[in-house]
Symmetry: C2
Subunit: 361 residues, 2 copies
């Protein structure tokens, strides 16, 4: 039996989805591949509420994030970070010799709207990156409000890392004005890791055309042009197994109904939050809580590693705090295809292991 | 039923291997992931006859090739090309602003040893790239002889694209002196596409340390350092599904015996070659024939697309010529887990469709 993974990805994958990973191979240059990839793209446009082109990449989300910043920055990128995954955008820029400045907020806080307004008003930047859901701190950043600021400018490409939110939290890409929205399949989409996805707006396409040295594998413009020319096929051989599973799972997601799916994530989040407030404290600013992950302050000084070891003996797994927040916090993810029952089962087991019901800890 | 794919990848994957793609998820930061990735690495060291570090990448081979040239070139790369896939190395260099010169031979010919000797003697280059098996022309390049030339220099990093050869043709990485040998799992290794592999020598590690701006996702040095520090784990979330299948398939390959596997590929190649000489001509220089793929000159002026359409109705698929060689040649791959019986079955069907047995065409 696989463990029940309540870590921020990979998460458990339903049996029916896993089975699709075993679909026999097809040629990646034939009509069957075109049909499959077109079908996936159309369903993802619904998920992202967008008319933008969908790009699929056989890689983790990191790859497409790297591609986005490399294919978009002519002047300089403004990287707004509320934690470790926000910082990663900055590292990507530096590693690719892309000019960038990093603007940070305190751990547990969301990106400050006024800071964004002030930074962009300098006119120095033509790209902005935001981590929608900061997996290290549990913050959901206000991408809608930030979108409103960006709309005042016409030359700023808006890149959003939605790796741990898309599929669990509503992201209206076109309405918000996101140019490149990146996600990965192993989080709220409920698939095995190995594929990432981004939306690619007309503005982003035009920008990429002005940029030389975009690399090869993550050259978003080359992918876009190939898709256009070759009927949804890709320059490099893709993971067809993931595509079979993704196509199936997107049907399941649309069958559940997007609003129902987002509501289920909200309900799971509320359950974990209430529980956390009862026994511990929530680490994150209460005004900016994520619906796919809760970061809990270890106010009782429990040994998180030990708790996780005991949980694993029972078939469950949660995540320790990230980086410097290890042992100071712990993290419970509630994303993908889990139900309220699954969450209750996990919380009951944690209570039982910690003896939370019987004693003052 | 899936088609029997005799195209140069993806090829058919055995049912037992496909089933492993459905293995339930594990956390990619836990001991189970370390054990799995260590196991794969040790088996791949046997396959490549090397003590070099093995790096696994969730991407096609293109990604790791791009990473190799970017992480190795301080002065300039000498790209030796015998066809479309050789040219691709050059495009990768240019797209990443890596200094490079392209040296080409005529389609169907192998890289000329004397040319390599002359080019390297200029002292201008510190990287050389060779396509072991040129999938567009069916050429197997003499990587051993080229290795002997490179050994005369101590500052040249030897990169080999073994995407369509590794697992089907013996490559003694350490003996030949290859620093970075790249392959993909969907060719002679017999897995679904979505993962690539490279060997990474100590010399290549030292070189990479001298290079700034190596990018993120294909930064071979960062992968190497992470593996060392985190017990075979990777910086980005990998395709665990491919790892489960790869670990299983490597056991199967080692069970078959490497020499037996290489001999089986040679036998399949001989069968297709004899058949080709009987009915058509071999396009490729007879002294440099690949054991995983045969490119056949369309001396009878058959309509290759039509032949393939009829073959597909019967459940088989071959490949048309690549690029400019379309219709002028056609390609039959014989790699992975196929047997002589499979090849005979395909050839019988081609003969039957073309009426080769009954009439002079």
């Amino acid at each position: 039996m696989g463990k029940k993974l309540f870590i921020p990805g990979p998460i458990d994958v339903r049996k029916e989805v896993l089975e699709k990973m075993s679909t026999p191979m097809i040629g990646h240059r034939g009509g069957d591949a075109s049909t499959l990839q077109k079908s996936i793209s159309e369903k993802l446009q619904k998920l992202f509420y967008t008319d933008s082109t969908i790009l699929l990449s056989t890689s983790s989300g990191t790859g497409l994030m790297e591609g986005s910043i490399r294919c978009s920055t002519l002047k300089k990128a403004a990287i707004f970070s509320s934690g470790a995954f926000g910082d990663r955008w900055y590292k990507m820029a530096i590693a690719n010799n892309v000019p960038a400045d990093l603007f940070k907020v305190e751990d547990g806080k969301a990106i400050d709207i006024e800071m964004v307004e002030k930074v962009l008003s300098t006119g120095e930047y033509d790209v902005i990156t935001i981590t929608h859901n900061e997996t290290s701190t549990g913050v959901r950043n206000p991408i809608e409000e930030i979108g409103d600021i960006i709309k005042k400018y016409d030359d700023i490409i808006y890149c959003v890392d939605a790796v741990s939110s898309a599929g669990g939290i509503k992201i209206e890409v076109d309405k918000i004005g996101i140019d490149i929205c990146v996600t990965s399949v192993q989080k709220a989409l409920g698939l095995p890791p190995g594929m990432s996805i981004c939306t690619f707006s007309q503005r982003a396409i035009e920008r990429a055309k002005q940029i030389s040295h975009r690399g090869i594998y993550f050259d978003l413009l080359a992918m876009y042009e190939y898709i256009l020319k070759k009927d949804y096929q890709y320059p490099s051989t893709p993971s067809l197994s993931h595509m079979f599973a993704l196509d199936f799972q997107l049907d399941e997601i649309l069958k559940e109904g997007l609003d129902n799916r987002f509501k289920r994530h909200e309900d799971m989040a509320n359950l974990v939050r209430d529980w956390s407030r009862k026994h511990f404290e929530i680490f994150t600013d209460e005004n900016h809580l994520s619906n796919t992950l809760t970061v809990i302050k270890n106010t009782k000084g429990i040994n998180v590693s030990n708790l996780n070891k005991k949980l694993q003996e029972r078939g469950y797994q949660i995540a320790n705090g990230y980086g410097d927040l290890k042992e100071k916090t712990f993290r419970i993810s509630h994303m993908g295809d889990y139900t309220l029952d699954d969450i209750n089962e996990l919380l009951d087991n944690i209570e039982d292991i910690l003896g939370l019901l019987n004693k003052v800890y």
